[in-house]
C-alpha cells in the first residue's frame, strides 16, 4: 500500500512528523488490523477446520449425514430397509420393511442412538462417506458433492429367516443357519425381538420406545444368535466325537469305546450321570453313545482325548475366538484351556464353563456337513454403489480344516443316527437326509434354571452325496414348556428352517 505524498507542504513544527507521515503510519496500522483478521480466518477455516468440524456440539456433520436417503440392506435382492423424510433438521431417517423379522441381521440406525451391527459396520458405505463410493475424489471435494449411500447385499434367505422367527414364536431363543459349503449365513433370528424403526428418529416417541426396550427385563435388543453365549450341553458331544475320531481314540464307531460304567470322574468320587437308563451300562459304542446322548461315555472320551486336543478341536469351530467378525463381531464362545480331568469330562459334554453362541454351534454342524472344512461365517455377499455397481465382493474363505473327510463321514453317520433312531426324531424331514444332535443344558444355581434346549443339524435331499445346503443351530431359553428337551422344543424349529432352505 503506497500513500502518495501531499503536493503542498504541511507544518511539521519542531521536526515532528507531519500528518502525511502519521497518517501513513495510522493507515499501515489499519491495514495490519485487516491482515490480522485474514490470518485469524485462515487459522479457523484451514488449520482448526478438522477439529471444529468434528466437535461433538457441531451438528453440521450430522445434518449432512442425514441430508440424503441412507443406502439399503438387501435380502434376496429386495431392500429390507428404507428412508423416510422427517421434515426436521435431520432430513431422512431409517425405516424398516419388516424391522422385527430382520433386527438380528440389520441392527439399527437411529439419529439419536447411533448405529449397530450391519448398520454400524457399514455405516460409511450406507451414509455415502466411504471413499470407495467417490467417482472423482478431488472434484467431489471441491464441489462438496455428496455420494448417494451404497447398498449391502446380505446372505440371508428370507424363507429360512421367516421360518426361524416363526418357529421361535413367543419363546426366548435364537437361531443361526449357515450354508456349510460357503459359510454364508442364511438365517439369524433372536427372540423376543424389537422393531429397530421404532426409535430411528429424534422425537419423544422415539425416545419412549427406546427406553421401553432398554428397561424390558427380557432384553429384546440383545442379539442372542451372535452376542449371547449359552452352555451348549449335549450338542457339544459332536465336537467331542469329532476329537475322538480325528485323534484315533475311537476308530470304529460301532465298536465298544472302552468307557466304564459307572464312570467316576478322575480325581473325584462323583460318577458322571446319564439322563436315560439306556446309557447305564458298559461296552457302549460311539454310535450308541451319541444316539442316546450318553454323558458317561462322552465324558470318558473327552478325558481320553486330553485337554490340548479337545481345546484344539473346539477352536476349529470358533471357540475361544474373540474376533469372530461376520462382519458383526460375535461374542467369544468359551472352552476352558486350563482344567483338571473332571472339569474336562464335564466340559466335554457341554457343561462346566463351556459356552457357545448359536452361530458357533451352527459352525459345528456345518463343519461336520462340509467334510471337516469349517468355512468362515459371513453375513454379506457384496457391497454395491447406489446404482448397483460392485464395490466389494465377499469370497468364501476357509476358517479351519477341522478333520478329514473320513472322520466327517463317520460324524455324519452318527448325527443321522440321532435323527433316525435317537433323541432328534422330531427333525426328520420326508425326502431328506438329516443329521443332528440334541442338547439340554443345565444352568443356574444348582441347575435350578429352566434348561436350555438345543438342537444342531444339517440336511440334504435324500440320495444326494453333495454337501448339505444348510446347517442350523437352535437354542430355546426359558421356555414355558413343562418338559424342556432339545428334541422336543428346538428340533421342530430347526426342521422348519432346513425345510425352508431345501424347499427353495
Amino acid at each position: 500500500m503506497r500513500f502518495t505524498r501531499p503536493a503542498g507542504t504541511n507544518g511539521s513544527p519542531q521536526g515532528l512528523p507531519g500528518i502525511s507521515t502519521t497518517g501513513r503510519r495510522a493507515g499501515t496500522f489499519c491495514m495490519l488490523l485487516i491482515v490480522a483478521l485474514a490470518l485469524q480466518a485462515t487459522r479457523v477455516q484451514v488449520f482448526q477446520k478438522k477439529e471444529l468440524d468434528h466437535n461433538s456440539a457441531n451438528q453440521r456433520a450430522t445434518i449432512q449425514r442425514y441430508s440424503q436417503p441412507r443406502g439399503n440392506l438387501l435380502v434376496a435382492g429386495q431392500p429390507v430397509t428404507g428412508s423416510a423424510e422427517t421434515g426436521g433438521r435431520y432430513a431422512y431417517k431409517r425405516t424398516y420393511t419388516d424391522g422385527a423379522l430382520y433386527a438380528a441381521v440389520t441392527g439399527y440406525s437411529s439419529q439419536t442412538y447411533g448405529n449397530t451391527q450391519l448398520e454400524g459396520v457399514y455405516d460409511d458405505l450406507l451414509s455415502g462417506t466411504d471413499p470407495r463410493l467417490a467417482g472423482w475424489a478431488v472434484w467431489d471435494a471441491v464441489t462438496r458433492q455428496q455420494q448417494p449411500g451404497g447398498d449391502v447385499v446380505t446372505t440371508i434367505d428370507p424363507a429360512a429367516q421367516r421360518a426361524a422367527t416363526q418357529g421361535l414364536g413367543n419363546q426366548k431363543g435364537a437361531v443361526a443357519a449357515i450354508e456349510p459349503a460357503t459359510g454364508r449365513i442364511l438365517a439369524l433370528a433372536s427372540t423376543p425381538g424389537y422393531d429397530p424403526g421404532s426409535f430411528a428418529g429424534t422425537s419423544t416417541a422415539d425416545q419412549a420406545a427406546w427406553e421401553k426396550l432398554q428397561d424390558d427385563p427380557d432384553q429384546p435388543m440383545l442379539n442372542r444368535a451372535l452376542r449371547q453365549i449359552y452352555p451348549p450341553g449335549s450338542t457339544f458331544k459332536v465336537v467331542t466325537a469329532a476329537a475322538a475320531l480325528a485323534n484315533g481314540v475311537v476308530t470304529d464307531i460301532d465298536a465298544p469305546t472302552g468307557a466304564p460304567y459307572p464312570y467316576v470322574m478322575p480325581g473325584t468320587t462323583t460318577p458322571l450321570n446319564n439322563d436315560t437308563g439306556a446309557c447305564d451300562r458298559a461296552g457302549l459304542s460311539l454310535d450308541e453313545a451319541v444316539t442316546l446322548s450318553c454323558n458317561s461315555v462322552m465324558g470318558y472320551l473327552g478325558v481320553q482325548v486330553g485337554l490340548d486336543r479337545m481345546t484344539a478341536m473346539a477352536r476349529n469351530f470358533g471357540f475361544n475366538d474373540a474376533k469372530l467378525d461376520v462382519p458383526v463381531r460375535a461374542a467369544r464362545a468359551n472352552f476352558d484351556t486350563d482344567m483338571n480331568e473332571s472339569q474336562l469330562a464335564l466340559s466335554s459334554i457341554g457343561q462346566y464353563d463351556t459356552a457357545a453362541t448359536p452361530l458357533v454351534m451352527a459352525m459345528v454342524a456345518a463343519g461336520a456337513a462340509n467334510d471337516g472344512q469349517v468355512m468362515y461365517p459371513q453375513l454379506v455377499d457384496k457391497l454395491t454403489k447406489a446404482d448397483g455397481s460392485q464395490v466389494q465382493l465377499m469370497h468364501p474363505t476357509l476358517y479351519r480344516q477341522a478333520f478329514g473327510s473320513s472322520v466327517a463321514r463317520q460324524l455324519q453317520q452318527l448325527m443321522v443316527g440321532v435323527v433316525e433312531n435317537g433323541t432328534g426324531r422330531n427333525a426328520r424331514i420326508p425326502g431328506a437326509e438329516v443329521g443332528g444332535k440334541t442338547g439340554t443344558a443345565q444352568h443356574g444355581v444348582d441347575n435350578t434354571g429352566t434348561p436350555y434346549a438345543w438342537f444342531i443339524a444339517w440336511a440334504r435331499p435324500a440320495g444326494s452325496a453333495a454337501v448339505p445346503p444348510v446347517a442350523v443351530a437352535v437354542v430355546v431359553a426359558d421356555s414355558q414348556a413343562d418338559d424342556v428337551t432339545g428334541g422336543g422344543l428346538a428340533a421342530p424349529i430347526a426342521k422348519s428352517v432346513m425345510q425352508a432352505v431345501l424347499g427353495r
Binding site: 504541511n10 500528518i19 488490523l33 477455516q45 453440521r60
Partner: protein
C-alpha cells in the same frame, strides 16, 4: 443515479469508493436474503433494501448539499452536542439483548450511536485541526513524554470521557471501543505524540480490566473469548462464538456455496452481528478474503485521500472516517472470529441494520466529497 451525482458534483472523486460501497452493500443484501429463506416469516432483505435506498439517497443528498467539506468545521461543537444527546437518549428506552443502544419509536428502531460516530469524527477533526500546534508543542515534559496542557486537552478528554461513560452505562462495549480507537488514532495523526498512544493503551487496559471486573455481561464475553468451546465441555452445548467458529470451519477454503451452509445454528443475530459467519461458511476463506480486500481498499482509499488533502481538517476527517471503518470491521470480524472478545456491532454495509447502512453511506459520501478535493488537479480559488 449515485454515480451521476458523483460525476456531476464530485468529478475528481476517487473512482473506487462508490463501487466498493455498492458491492459490499450488494453482498450484504444477498446474504441477508439467503438467511431470510432459512427463517420463517422473515422479511429482513426488503427492509434492508429500503434502508440501503435511503442510504444511497442520503449519499446523493450529502454530495449535492455539501459542496465543500470544510463547512462542516463550523458545526463541530453543535455536532458533538447532538451526538451526545443521541447517545444519552437510548438510556431512556428498554434494553435490547442486554444493551441500551436502541431507540424504539413504534415500529421503527434505530441505533443513535451509529449516527453519533460521524459527528464525533467531525468534531475530533475540527478540534484537533484547530489546536494541533498547541497540543503538539506546549506542555510539560514528564519522563520522556511531552504532556499537553490541561486547558487544551481538557475539552477533548471531557467529551471523550462523556461518550465512553455513556456507552459503558449502556453496556455497549463495541461502540465505546470504536470511539476510543478513533480518538487515539486521530490524536496521534494530529500530534505525532507516540506517548499518547501509550497513555491511551494504558487507560484502555485499565478501563477494560475495570469493566471486565464490574460488569458480568462484559466478564462473560471475555470468558467466552478465551474459552469459546468451554460451554460444550460443561455440557451446556455450544455458545454463539463456538457456533460461529463451527460455521467458519465448515466453510473451509472454498465454502459450501450460498444457501448450503447451516449458519442458522448460531441462533439469533445471524443477519447482523454474525453475518460474517455466513459469508465464511458459504463463500469460504476465498469469499472472506475478497470481503476483507474490499474493506482494505475502501480504508486505504480513505487514508490516501487524507494524506493528499491540504487542509488539516479535511485530512483528519478523511483519516478519521477511514479509521472508523477499519476499526469497526476489526472489532466485529475479530469478535466473530474469536480474535478479540465479542462486542455487538454491525459489519459496515453487509450486516442487517438500517442505522448502520445509512451511516456508512454518509461516511462514503464524505470520503467521496473529500477525495474530490484531494484529487482535483488545479486547486480552485476558494480551496
Amino acid at each position: 443515479m449515485a454515480h451521476a451525482a458523483v460525476r456531476w458534483r464530485a468529478t475528481w472523486a476517487d473512482p473506487l469508493l462508490l463501487p466498493i460501497a455498492v458491492l459490499l452493500n450488494g453482498i450484504g443484501l444477498v446474504v441477508i436474503y439467503r438467511l431470510d429463506r432459512n427463517t420463517p416469516n422473515s422479511e429482513a432483505a426488503p427492509t434492508q433494501l429500503l434502508w440501503s435506498t435511503l442510504g444511497v439517497g442520503l449519499f446523493i443528498a450529502v454530495l449535492l448539499l455539501l459542496r465543500d467539506h470544510r463547512r462542516l468545521q463550523r458545526y463541530a461543537y453543535v455536532g458533538a452536542f447532538v451526538a451526545l444527546v443521541l447517545l444519552v437518549l437510548p438510556v431512556f428506552f428498554p434494553p435490547v439483548y442486554g444493551s441500551r443502544i436502541w431507540i424504539t419509536l413504534g415500529p421503527l428502531s434505530f441505533q443513535p450511536g451509529e449516527f453519533a460516530k460521524i459527528l464525533l469524527a467531525v468534531f475530533f477533526a475540527a478540534y484537533l485541526a484547530a489546536h494541533r500546534d498547541a497540543l503538539a508543542l506546549t506542555g510539560r515534559k514528564v519522563l520522556w513524554f511531552q504532556l499537553p496542557l490541561g486547558r487544551v486537552l481538557g475539552p477533548v478528554l471531557l467529551i471523550w470521557a462523556a461518550f465512553v461513560g455513556v456507552l459503558v452505562l449502556e453496556t455497549d462495549l463495541g461502540t465505546s471501543l470504536l470511539f476510543f480507537g478513533l480518538f487515539v488514532v486521530m490524536l496521534y495523526v494530529a500530534t505525532a505524540r507516540t506517548g499518547w498512544i501509550v497513555i491511551g493503551l494504558l487507560l484502555s487496559a485499565l478501563a477494560a480490566v475495570g469493566v471486565g471486573w464490574l460488569s458480568p455481561h462484559v466478564h462473560s464475553r471475555v470468558t467466552e473469548w478465551l474459552h469459546p468451546l468451554a460451554s460444550i465441555g460443561a455440557g451446556q452445548g455450544a455458545n454463539q462464538i463456538a457456533q460461529s467458529l463451527f460455521a467458519f470451519a465448515w466453510g473451509g477454503q472454498l465454502g459450501t456455496g450460498l444457501g448450503l451452509g447451516h449458519s442458522s445454528l448460531i441462533g439469533f443475530a445471524t443477519k447482523s452481528d454474525f453475518i460474517l459467519a455466513t459469508v465464511g461458511e458459504e463463500l469460504g476463506l476465498t469469499g472472506l478474503f475478497a470481503v476483507f480486500l474490499l474493506y482494505a481498499l475502501l480504508v486505504s482509499r480513505g487514508f490516501r485521500t487524507g494524506i493528499a488533502l491540504r487542509d488539516p481538517f479535511g485530512r483528519l476527517l478523511a483519516i478519521g472516517l477511514a479509521a472508523l471503518v477499519a476499526i469497526q470491521v476489526f472489532v466485529v470480524a475479530g469478535g466473530v472470529l474469536d480474535l478479540i472478545p465479542l462486542t455487538g456491532m454491525t459489519l459496515p454495509f453487509i450486516a442487517q441494520g438500517g442505522s448502520s447502512v445509512v451511516t456508512n453511506w454518509v461516511i462514503v459520501a464524505l470520503l467521496v466529497r473529500t477525495s474530490d478535493l484531494a484529487r482535483r488537479p488545479v486547486p480552485e480559488e476558494d480551496a
